[in-house]
């Protein structure tokens, strides 16, 4: 693997020529898409950027901190509906409010995580997600009842640039976060709670921070999704949405930033390819999770890393 000689080097952004070349290629593609004159790809690109923000957040919680949460649909719904109700504010502010609302909910859900571990936490967060859905389905003053809530929708090209830019900001923020003290504390908690506590990591603060940050991301994801759709119904935020996020995290690669983006691209593009057959999408998703976990647990990001190392060291391996 990579030889890292100092802490300074470890912290450097995108070290290695291949990584830099791939990064530049990715940015070039993102800039080229709107000029390709293909509206379908602009829509897909927007959706990938939106989804990637949510996947980044959940990967922070699940991949880096090791807290198995099934409550994403709840945070997504809180973000989306908050955005819909405060959309008279200027949009950056509305986005911030939506994210913060989800983050507050995240801290509230995070409190049980201080006592619950593994499967128990998974069930508790699952219960939270469903409770939010039930609340929205029953409270028509919140969700607009059967007609739903309308959200003002800017033109598609504007959305594309806005969301891709936001994804870039969130990805950079995540890189900084995980190479800071907080990110290291996240991973220490994941690897062993007791050991992390023994070396002075504040378990309570770290876990709550992980829940707050990841819910903030998911709330922003929900808000952008609301803006993208222009219309909200409680049915959008069911268990299927949670499963899709899990597929994205697994296929892309746990605890990996580039993996989150690959995973988001996978879950957006795969249904586009199989658009005609509705049944094929879950089969493809399920099959790819199983194949990834059995053969390449690092996901696409792990596979890419292995390929890169093999390429750089060729023929000496």
């Amino acid at each position: 693997m990579d030889l890292v000689e100092s802490h300074q080097e470890e912290l450097r952004f995108a070290r290695g020529r291949v990584v830099r070349a791939l990064l530049i290629a990715g940015v070039a593609i993102a800039i080229a898409v709107p000029f390709s004159g293909q509206p379908a790809w602009i829509v897909r690109g927007t959706l990938i950027a939106i989804t990637a923000i949510g996947v980044l957040g959940q990967n922070l919680l699940i991949g880096h901190t090791g807290q198995i949460s099934f409550g994403q649909a709840g945070f997504l719904a809180i973000g989306a509906y908050t955005f819909a109700h405060v959309q008279m504010l200027p949009w950056p502010l509305a986005l911030l409010v939506a994210g913060l609302a989800a983050a507050v909910a995240g801290v509230l859900v995070g409190f049980p995580s201080l006592r619950l571990k593994g499967p128990y936490l998974a069930i508790a967060t699952l219960g939270f997600g469903i409770a939010v859905y039930q609340l929205l389905a029953n409270a028509s003053w919140l969700s607009g009842g059967r007609t739903g809530v309308a959200v003002q929708r800017p033109p598609m090209e504007w959305l594309y640039w806005q969301d891709v830019l936001l994804l870039a900001i969130f990805a950079l923020a995540t890189v900084n976060l995980i190479s800071s003290y907080a990110g290291r504390a996240f991973m220490a908690v994941r690897d062993s709670e007791i050991a992390a506590e023994a070396v002075g990591v504040n378990l309570t603060r770290t876990k709550l921070l992980a829940f707050a940050v990841s819910s903030f991301y998911t709330g922003v994801h929900g808000a952008l999704f609301a803006q993208f759709l222009g219309h909200l119904e409680p049915e959008l935020f069911n268990l299927g949405e949670v499963l899709t996020l899990f597929v994205a995290i697994t296929v892309g690669g746990l605890a990996s930033i580039e993996g989150s983006i690959f995973g988001a691209a996978f879950v957006v593009l795969a249904p586009a390819v199989f658009g005609a057959a509705r049944w094929a999408v879950p089969v493809l998703f399920g099959g790819s999770i199983i194949v990834v976990l059995v053969f390449e647990p690092g996901g696409l990001a792990g596979g890419l890393r292995k390929a890169r190392v093999a390429l750089e060291q060729w023929p000496f391996r």
Binding site: G66, I68, L126, W279, I289, L293
Partner: protein, 298 residues
């Protein structure tokens, strides 16, 4: 209805018991898998759906119930045994984390769901059944439908069967040994993989039984087991994820509580109750009613 107050209460309690026995069956399967493999099986509902649809396919080709129902149980059991040996065991051998194993079961759930939608479509169907939902018998002061009686009977039979197998046979002894300490069981020459495979098969068959008795009460569509599956989850948490009697008690309690809540507190409350129960139990007593408190070793 001019039922006296007490009879009305009993009527709802009995309806709750019948729904609760379905939750108990689902919860029993979830706990059986959790105790033996330490995995939360998110595919439990979907495998049960698959089995129920297998019965439906045979019944609509004019086979009798005596062929269709055993075939349904075998289909469900086969699907999860295949999954266990084909995906879960190899992943465990490679040292998959708890999260990885849970995600694997999500993968199975998605595949089964897609295949059921592909084969049977999403249109709801009516499931033929030997017991009627509308014919009711008078038992003491309350009326019980034939289907509800059948459900209670089937759940009771399944619970007794599980008890006998786990507590009174050599295979059950092996199952308890594997659940207690996998490594030690392996060292003592117990074929742990086969025992675990059997546990998965039994658990899925229990889920299919629940599916078969639930389907005639509502319409059969590819997602009909999602709700009872989540309720079964709630029931297993209520009783304690590591306790088989707890699963049964949790299921029955949840069923009765739901039915009474629906009768006296409103229908919205009935729907949310299970998830409030989950949150309350996990906050107050995470190990459940009959579970043992956990300890952690470094």
């Amino acid at each position: 209805m001019a039922l006296p107050l007490m009879d009305r209460f009993l009527q709802y309690a009995v309806a709750g018991l019948s729904a609760g026995s379905l939750y108990a069956l689902v919860a029993l399967g979830i706990v059986l898998i959790y105790k033996s493999t330490k995995v939360l099986n998110f595919a439990h509902g979907d495998v049960a759906t698959l089995g129920t649809f297998a019965a439906f396919a045979l019944l609509s080709r004019d086979h009798s119930f005596w062929i269709a129902f055993p075939a349904a149980l075998v289909t469900g059991a086969l699907a999860s045994v295949l999954f266990y040996f084909g995906a879960l065991a190899p992943a465990q051998r490679k040292g998959a984390t708890l999260l990885g194993q849970v995600i694997l079961t999500i993968g199975l759930a998605l595949i089964v769901q897609g295949l059921v939608v592909y084969t049977f479509g999403t249109e709801p169907d009516r499931m033929p059944f030997p017991l009627s939902d509308s014919e009711s018998r008078k038992v003491g002061p309350v009326y019980v439908s034939e289907l509800a009686l059948g459900t209670l009977g089937a759940a009771l039979a399944a619970c007794v069967a599980v008890y006998v197998v786990v507590q009174r046979t050599r295979l059950g002894l092996a199952m308890r040994a594997v659940s207690e300490n996998l490594m030690a069981a392996q060292t003592l020459g117990i074929p742990t993989r086969r025992v675990l495979g059997f546990a998965w098969a039994t658990a899925s068959a229990l889920g299919v039984v629940a599916g078969l008795f639930l389907a005639p009460a509502l319409l059969l569509d590819p997602f009909f087991m999602l709700d009872p599956f989540l309720k079964g989850f709630a029931a297993s948490v209520l009783g304690g994820l590591g306790s088989l009697p707890g699963a049964v008690a949790g299921g029955l309690l949840l069923g009765v509580a739901e039915s009474l809540a629906g009768a006296y507190a409103g229908i919205e409350f009935k729907k949310t109750l299970a998830f409030l129960v989950i949150l309350a139990v996990l906050l107050v007593r995470p190990e459940g009613l009959l579970g043992k408190p956990f300890k952690e070793r470094v």
